[in-house]
Structure formats: C-alpha cells, structure tokens
Symmetry: C2
Amino acid sequence: MKCLILAAGQGSRLSRKGDSKPLIPLLGIPLIERAIRSAMQADIAEFYIVSGYNGEQVRPFLDGLATRCGITVIHIINDDYKLDNGVSVLKAKEYLSEPFLLLMADHLFDPGILRDLMKQSPDRIAVTLAIDTHMANELVDMDDVTRVRHENGKLVAIGKGLADFNGFDTGIFLCTPSLFEALEHSATDQGDTTLSGGVRRLAGEGRVNVLDIDGRFWLDVDDPRALNQGERALLNQLRDKPNDGPVSGYLNRPISVRISRILCRFPITPNQISLLSFSGSLLAAALFAMGGYPALAAGGVLAQFASIIDGCDGEVARIKFLESDYGRWFDAVLDRYADAFLLFGLTWHAIAGGPDSLVLFAGFLAIIGSFMLSYTADKYDHLMRRRFVSGKGWRMGRDVRVFLIFLGALLNQPLAILVLIAVLMNAETIRRVWVSRDRG
Amino acid sequence: MKCLILAAGQGSRLSRKGDSKPLIPLLGIPLIERAIRSAMQADIAEFYIVSGYNGEQVRPFLDGLATRCGITVIHIINDDYKLDNGVSVLKAKEYLSEPFLLLMADHLFDPGILRDLMKQSPDRIAVTLAIDTHMANELVDMDDVTRVRHENGKLVAIGKGLADFNGFDTGIFLCTPSLFEALEHSATDQGDTTLSGGVRRLAGEGRVNVLDIDGRFWLDVDDPRALNQGERALLNQLRDKPNDGPVSGYLNRPISVRISRILCRFPITPNQISLLSFSGSLLAAALFAMGGYPALAAGGVLAQFASIIDGCDGEVARIKFLESDYGRWFDAVLDRYADAFLLFGLTWHAIAGGPDSLVLFAGFLAIIGSFMLSYTADKYDHLMRRRFVSGKGWRMGRDVRVFLIFLGALLNQPLAILVLIAVLMNAETIRRVWVSRDRG
C-alpha cells in the first residue's frame, strides 16, 4: 500500500529558526525517518512525501534514506506550506488513485496501528481514522490535539475546539481518493482548507469510520516537551522485555536505558557497544587474575558495569532500527566468552595461593555450568512452550551470573562464589534436561 | 488416504514353521511395523490390514501398535490365505470405496515413493503401479520378482515369467475400487486369482499407469538372504549423513553402524545409548586425571570408543523410528559435558607436575573454544545457508576434537594437544564470527 506523509509545515514551536522540523532527531533518528521506518515495519515500501518549508534539506535526506533502506520515495513539493495542511494533501491528488495511508512526519506511532488499519476494507467508506479513546492519556497535549466524537464506529464530529468529544485524532488515516474531492469542496464551499475540514465533510455523509488504537502508543511531537516525552516513552518501551531476568529487570535495565539515551546521539553501532561491554569484562577478568582484594573488588564492579552496558547494544539497535540476527548472535557469542573469562579470572585469583583441587574443580564446573545454561536455553524454551503453555518461571541467566560474581568479588569470596555458580548453573541445566525429558 | 496392506501369506521361504512372516524382525522391528511406520512417514494414518496365516498372532500385535502410534488399524481376515494374493485384495472390497494405497507387509520401501504416488490423479486410470526401472538393481531377486513392460507411461504387460521386460513391480500401488471388479472378472473369466491377473486385465484396457521410483530404495523381503540385504541396505543409508565430519565419515560411522546393528536387537533406547557413551567419556576423563602414561593412553582409547558409540544413538533412533527433538537435544547436552570433562581431565593430568600457568590457560581456552564451536554452529549454518548457498566447507566438529584428544593421549602429549585444540577451536569460532559479520 502507498503511504502519503505530510512533512511540509514549519513546525515553529519545535524547530529553531532555519531548522527543518522533520529532520529534528529523536534518540538519534530524525522524526521523518522514524515515521518511515515505523511504517516499513508494517511492510510499507512506497512513500509519497509532501515537503515544503526547508524542502531543499529534507529531500536529499530522504533520497539517501531511500537508498539505504531499499524503499521508494516520491517527492511532492508544496510551496504553499504556510497554508493549512489540507493544501499539502491535495498536492498528492494526481499521484494516488487507490486507497492509501496518510501519516504526519512528526508523529510517533506503534506500527501495529498501521497493520490494523490496513485490515479495514473501505467499502463505501472514504476514510478510516485511527483514534485514541484513552481519555486520560498523559502524552496528549490537550491544548493542541484534534478532538473527535464518534458513535457506533462512525466519526460524528472533528475539530480542535470540540467541547463534547470522546476520542483524539492520532493523525493516522486510511484514505481513498474521495478525500481529495471532499477537500476541494470544503475549500470552495466553506473556505476551510484543513485536512479536518475535508474529513468533516465526509463524516457528514457518514463516510468516515473510526478505529480505536486500543491503547497503542502514539505521540504528536509538536514542542520540546513532547520531544522529551517521546524519548522517554520509547526508552520505557525497552524496559518491558519479557526475557529479562530479575537482576536485568530491576537493576541493569533502568540504568542501561539511561545510558542508551546518551549513546543514541553518537554514531556508535550496536555491535561496537557489544565489543565495548566485552572489553570491560575482559579487563575485569584481568583484574581478578592480578590478585589482591582491591583488584578483585574493582574487577567485580567493572564486571557488573559491563553487564549493564551489555543491555545497551540491543536497546540502541531497537531505538535506531538496527536490529539484526547477526547482531544478536554476535552479542551472544561475546557474552559466552566474557562469562568464561570472568570465571576463569576468579579461578586464577583463588588458585594463586597454591594449586588447590577444589578451586580448580569448582572453577571448571562453574564455567561449564554457565555455558550449559546458555546452550540449553533456546531449545529448552522451545520444548517448554510446546509442553507447558504456562510454564515460564524464573530465568537464571547472565544477569544473575554476573551479579553473583560482582557480589563474590566485593565480599572477597571468590571460591564460595565459584562453588555457588557451579552448583546453581549445573543444577538448573540438569533440571531442564529432567523436566523436558521424554520417552524417545 | 487409506492404505491396504496384504499380510495374509505364509511366507514359507522366510519364516520357520509356526512363525508369522509379518512379525519377523528386521533390525529389531517386525516387517509389518516397518511397512506401517514408513507409510506413516508419508502421512498415512488409516490402515486396512488383511491377515490370514497366524493371524491370531498378527492382529493383537497390530492393535498394540495402533495404540502406541495413534493410528487406525482395521482387520480384514482372510482364511483362504493359501490361495493367490488377489483373493486377499478382494476381501477388502466392502471397506474401500475411494482411491487407496496398496502395500505388501513384507516389502521395505522409501516413504518418498508413497508421497510421489499420492500426487498422481487417477482420472480414468484404475491403478498406478510404482515400478523400478533400474535393471541392474542388485537387491532384486530375478527368480522371484514380478516383471513389467511399459510404454509411454502405460503398463503393457506384467508377470513373473515375462521375457521382454523393462521394469520391476515394486508391490506399491495407488488403486481405485475398479481393481476389485477387475479381480473378479479375472477370476471368473480366466481363473486367474492373482493380483497381477487383475492388474493385467486393467492394463489391457489402458487403465494402468506406471510411476518410476527414480532409484529410490525398495526391497521384497522374501528369504533370509533378502532379510540380510535389507538390514545392510538400511544400515548403509545411515552412513551418508551430510553433517558428518571427516573422522565421523571415514572412521566412526563405519564402526558405529556395525555396533548399531547389534544394539537394534535389544530393547535399549537411543537416550540410554547416549548415556552409555557419556559414561565412557567420564571414565576416560577420570583415567586422564589419574596421571601416568598407561592411564592416559587407556583414557584416550576409551574416549575415542565413546565417540564412536555416540553415533549409535542417532542410528538406532532412525532404524527403530525413535527419533525425537528431545533425543537430539539430550545427546547434544551430554556431548558438551563430555567434551568439557575430557579436556578438564587432560588439563588435570598436565597440571599434576605442578601449577603451570600455560597449562591452565591452554586447558581453559580449549574448553571454551570447544564449547563456542558447538554454540555457534547452528546459527552459523543458518546464516551461511542464507548468504552463500554453496558455502558448506569442512566441519570441525566433535569427531575431530575427540580424535585429537585420542591422538594426544596415545602420543603422551597432553599439553600440546590442549594448545592445538585451543588454537583450532577458537580460531574457527573467530572465523565464523568474521565471515558472517554484517553492518548491523
């Protein structure tokens, strides 16, 4: 499906003089790129973009983006960008003769909204408008939002000043070319050149449906406050990862998200962040091996810090649309090496006093147990999902492992912690083998 | 699709007096169970089985099998089992009113033949016969096989005594109920009560197609020699596993297949074989750790032997239709533990003279490298398949690793072999990370 994006406006409340609003970065990605990439996640690949104010900056950027992402970008130029936004839509009339999506360049949104919207069949409906019925949504700017009233799935009224309303216009539309006609009539008959004017006219004919976004995320980034809200909302979304272990959820993630917010601004790739975290773990292992309590404690702190940074690669990847299978794999491989080196460093530290069989054996079992836990995890999850639908339970992952190492180092108990990790990790591995056993 | 299986005959050339031919085991599985399970692999779940001679033994066995496998078995009793096989087919007339597959209880076959056969649309064709056109097939008993002559995809002649022939009847048919009529006419008009008689009649009307099995495996198990051939053919099929490494392919597999042939006869499960191999590795590791060259060498031999036995679990699973995801996973988990213990045993052995940093570090790197190789393998294969279609190359797997340990122990070079394994395994891991890298 084709997608029309309005990016002509001046956006004076957000952009400083001379800036181009669609190009203002949010967490390192320009607003319009974020809109396009979010739409790409809903399998949109053909974009018609109306540029105007500072278009000579916007258009080359979009051409570069099209090449990088393998999408089609058609430029529609609107020199009347100081007029209402209905004028921008009308400029696209000759390009769009079939149903299309309509988005605003400065709106953030969950791609799921587009997927839902595209499932609607227009029939004799001219426009389907995605609306937010969560009236207490604190991300909505009550002074600026376009309000709507709907009854039985139909749009009844729309406007900024609406007193009696039960929803908000999210700026996300599924349109048919009938919209162009309605905009023209609205302009000539009522002198109303806003998009809302055209939609209002169609609504009067009973030809506008609404679709509730069902609490999904959207945000109109209209001023610095909204930009800040948007950053925080996106960062918060990173925090509910279902696979996070307890240490990750309560300690690492809240910190790593703050670090990611800063990292996003720099041209550092997720894989480089993985390498950075890995280097920290290696250094921590070397500190362990040096011997002496100060080095041990410093190594423990560094290991825990590296474990926190280890969350940033995935976070930055999600924020900047850089997720990849290879990235996940690369991170996992480095994590296994990091774990092994940390435990080996601890073993080396503990063995320094003289060769002790117990230390050696505990270190060996801790290393192999940690490995086995990662090695068995995927398959175990797979088998478990199949067998016990609700069988999720507590995950003993890398976050717990490194945290135990951190505690052991701080408390100057390298041997005790090796024994503990050896027992916990191997016991959990054996439990998995046992629980998922079959008669094969 | 329903499947009719003829299992009424006496099979006097194979069964000893009083034995029931369909129940004669081949590699631990009765012939008729093998036929049924092979058909199940082609997604057949409803079986009509004509029993006769010693039916009171065959039928309870099949009822038990139906329960174990979750399939439907309908018994058709033919007390005239001394008559020709067309009589057995006719007993099924009232049960089968739609196209059905017809198999012989004592034939081995590749399930792919059934899949191909079921893709044929009967149209006005009454019977499609799967034929083998590989005239030099040494598994065919020229004195006993039913010969066929075909032209342009049509069966022209069929019979044991046929002098001018260009194919063999595999005993695998896709039939329509028209066959029953043809059998009745053949019996009353010509007094021919064989299945071939009925098929010959339909062939005369141009209503029998042939389908070349394209070199796929089939075998009529009619006498002790064929039973032996069948065992060897199935065992040979185990030997071309595409994922086998060089040591596995040239050394381990040829031996393990011979051991599997014996293991099949006993009620030992694949998972028990995995445990047996694992125990061998543990014992070998303990021998390494004991110290002294004799124990080291004995451990090396035992480790290599355990590695050979490690191939038997999968082989027995394939032969006895016991393959499972869990079994593969269980084997992989035990293999990782076995590898780690073997290398730790070697490290312990090498360290016995006194604590040596090099030994400790080499042992650690060997263990982690071996692990990483297994850990990265699946994902690597996946990425590689996607990126370089032909990028297969040489696999450095467990077979090579254990063989190196075996050689190192025999040559009394534990440290050298640890260093070698550490270098090889980690270098290969790093190579994989490098080759499959992307810009993510």
